[in-house]
């Protein structure tokens, strides 16, 4: 098996032009992850700039309402820039800077990763260009403005379905054009090795904190950890330090869109099959001829036809479960958490909240569930209002 494999998944399926670039990245990462000075700088950024550790909040009203497991919320939405994306971006931007790069490029779906990258670029005095599907620039206009405000250039991508997968393709194309001074800050646990490993390591802070915080509060491990899965970075971050604890159920919630029986879905593990795309072998939504399917979800951040290779391997091994959640269920959960706990979650995170509403009542009152609230929902308010037939003028 070649480098960067998770079971049969992963690998480096990219043009020759990029092979030395990923090789240099792998070497630099291997060096700096063991470098005390790098780790001190990163810890300082995470704590004093991004606001870590994020809170682990006991959702008492939700727990009472659901009448089953104790529900804790891991509040990644409270991070600077409003999502878990900043954990990975600060790590990669610092690494890029150490490598002598002066320019960051990134894809973005909902805009959270683009905003986080633009933020890190501003902080570190680097150039930044973000590629975003045309359709997403319209769904998430506020985030486009935020990126520009932070000094980034935003390119609307018109190719293909004009959503996240096309933004990823456009960013890879841009990287092959300009490599020397440029680092591609990949936003999820996907793409060619070493990205799935680097991004996972930078996001693993989530499960490290959950484990410690819950040990302090409850003196034990959780029984279930839930997170939404698009590419899967917040989920792998929330799962990672529990993988070797078999008593902890790990549950990834995929975007089923209008349902897994139709074509308007983005639930890769429920509907996809093994393939090779965007640098990795993994599961992809595709037709019988291997053409990548045009996927759909109300959530721009989960609207991706693939899933990270480590998730694919966790699925194969039966270590993690993956469940589809529809637009309707996610929107109801978005409203539910807002009213029940005064927390407006990102529509992406609302997919995990939706499944928690089904699962918690089926669990015992002595059991504990943690939901990763990967981001805040302010960005989604206009879209959810539209979904409910209300037109907001922002």
């Amino acid at each position: 098996m070649t480098k960067g494999r998770f079971g049969v998944h992963g690998g480096q399926y990219i043009p020759e032009t990029l092979m030395n670039a990923v090789g240099e990245l792998e070497e630099a990462y291997a060096h700096y992850k063991e470098d005390p000075e790098f780790n001190r700088e990163l810890a300082d950024l995470l704590n004093n700039y991004a606001g870590r550790p994020s809170r682990l909040y006991f959702a008492e009203r939700m727990t009472e309402d659901l009448g089953g497991a104790k529900v804790y919320l891991k509040r990644e939405d409270l991070n600077h820039t409003g999502a878990h994306k900043i954990n990975n971006v600060l790590g990669q931007a610092l690494l890029a800077k150490k490598m002598g790069k002066t320019r960051l490029i990134a894809e973005t779906g909902a805009g959270q990763h683009g905003v986080a990258t633009a933020t890190a670029a501003a902080l570190m005095g680097m150039e930044c260009e973000v590629f975003m599907g045309r359709e997403d620039t319209e769904r998430q206009a506020l985030n486009v403005y935020r990126m520009r405000l932070l000094g980034a250039q935003v390119h609307a991508v018109d190719e293909g379905t004009a959503t996240l997968k096309d933004a990823v393709s456009a960013t890879f194309r841009e990287w092959t054009t300009r490599i020397d001074d440029t680092h591609y800050v990949l936003g999820s646990v996907m793409g060619p090795h070493p990205f799935p490993t680097i991004v996972r390591d930078f996001q693993a802070v989530i499960s490290r904190e959950i484990k410690q915080q819950l040990a302090e509060r409850e003196g034990r491990l959780p029984d279930a950890v839930l997170a939404c899965v698009g590419g899967g970075s917040n989920a792998i971050g929330a799962f990672y330090h529990f993988i070797d604890d078999p008593s902890v159920r790990l549950i990834g919630c995929e975007a089923a869109g209008r349902g897994v029986d139709g074509f308007e879905t983005a639930a890769t593990i429920a509907t996809g099959r093994l393939g090779i795309f965007h640098g990795m072998k993994s599961y992809f939504c595709q037709d019988e001829h291997g053409q990548i399917a045009p996927v759909y979800s109300i959530s721009a951040g989960l609207d991706y036809p693939g899933v990270g290779p480590e998730h694919a391997a966790l699925h194969d091994a039966g270590r993690a479960e993956y469940v589809p959640v529809t637009d309707d269920e996610a929107v109801e959960a978005f409203e539910y958490l807002s009213r029940m706990e005064g927390i407006i979650p990102a529509i992406e995170s609302a997919h995990a909240v939706a499944h928690a509403r089904t699962l918690a009542p089926a669990m015992g009152k002595d059991q504990i569930m943690v939901i990763n609230i990967s981001g805040r929902g302010d960005k989604d308010c206009a879209a959810i209002a539209r979904y409910r037939g209300e037109d907001l003028h922002e």
Partner: protein, 281 residues
């Protein structure tokens, strides 16, 4: 080398004597090769068939047949759009195999498939390679499969007698030696950073790249692609390599002329072949 004649089209009843590997080698034996690319099914498969035969008659030494893929990440806008048009027209991998069979009955020109890893992977790599051999397609080019991942594809290709083509790029540096040593058929030398598509100038030191390939493996020919569109560029690239690959400029003629593209493309191929053939070996 300026007197090279276009290879004659093979009569219908001629036996398919050459194996894929032999046929690829033949593309480079009589001087500098000109290698045009077309996306199969753009504007339709009937036109593609006529195009390939006409390009062979016009002097093409090897023809690259692009099997359309939904997300061709190494392509610039011209070939991306051609891929999507071909898919929108309903082109499938099976139909492209049938097209190749029809083409093979009409010409002996060496043929290569150019597509993305998921197309053969989804078809089943071994079945795909066998089907290539049956259809008379001689080489497979997958721009998203680098040296490290090649065994999964090159093994089944070798078993079927099909060449699996390797790439070197301006960023390959210390990798060239390793790639060239194990190269089969020909080495696809990427002229420039970035994706496919015409460029006004090529700034990379292609001569240094091809010299490195030849030093590591004197037996394998080097063909240069990406960014070549004019006869002058083709001649300059041919001077430092064994052949020149042109894709986007041809696809652009196909877009411009639609089903009437066969004559203009054949004329273009004749011009380019003449420019390449005029370069001394």
């Amino acid at each position: 080398m300026s007197s090279i004649q276009a290879p004659a089209a093979r009569p219908d009843n001629a036996p398919a004597a050459a194996s894929g590997v032999d046929r690829v080698a033949r593309a480079f034996v009589s001087g500098k090769a000109f290698i045009p690319f077309v996306t199969c099914g753009d504007p339709d498969l009937e036109t593609t068939e006529e195009l390939v035969v006409a390009m062979a008659e016009a002097g093409a030494d090897l023809v690259e047949l692009g099997i359309p893929f939904s997300d061709p990440t190494a392509e610039g806008p011209v070939i991306q759009a051609a891929n999507l048009r071909a898919l929108a027209g309903g082109t499938t991998t099976d139909q492209v195999f049938q097209l190749a069979e029809r083409v093979r009955k009409r010409t002996d020109v060496p043929l290569a498939f150019m597509t993305y890893a998921n197309v053969p992977f989804s078809f089943g790599v071994e079945r795909f390679a066998r089907r290539m051999a049956e259809a008379g397609v001689d080489a497979l080019i997958l721009p998203d499969v680098p040296f490290e991942e090649r065994d999964e594809f090159s093994g089944p290709c070798r078993a079927a007698g099909v060449s699996f083509v390797s790439f070197v790029a301006p960023t390959s540096h210390d990798r060239v030696r390793m790639i060239a040593r194990e190269a089969e058929g020909f080495v696809y030398c990427v002229s420039s950073l970035g994706v496919t598509g015409a460029r006004s100038s090529i700034s990379t030191d292609v001569a240094a790249m091809t010299a490195q390939v030849r030093q590591a493996n004197p037996r394998v020919p080097c063909a240069v692609g990406f960014g070549v569109s004019t006869p002058e560029q083709a001649a300059a690239m041919a001077a430092v390599s064994d052949g020149v690959i042109v894709g986007s400029a041809i696809v652009r003629l196909v877009v411009e002329h639609g089903r009437a593209c066969v004559d203009p493309v054949a004329a273009y191929v004749r011009t380019m072949k003449a420019a390449v053939a005029a370069v001394e070996n």
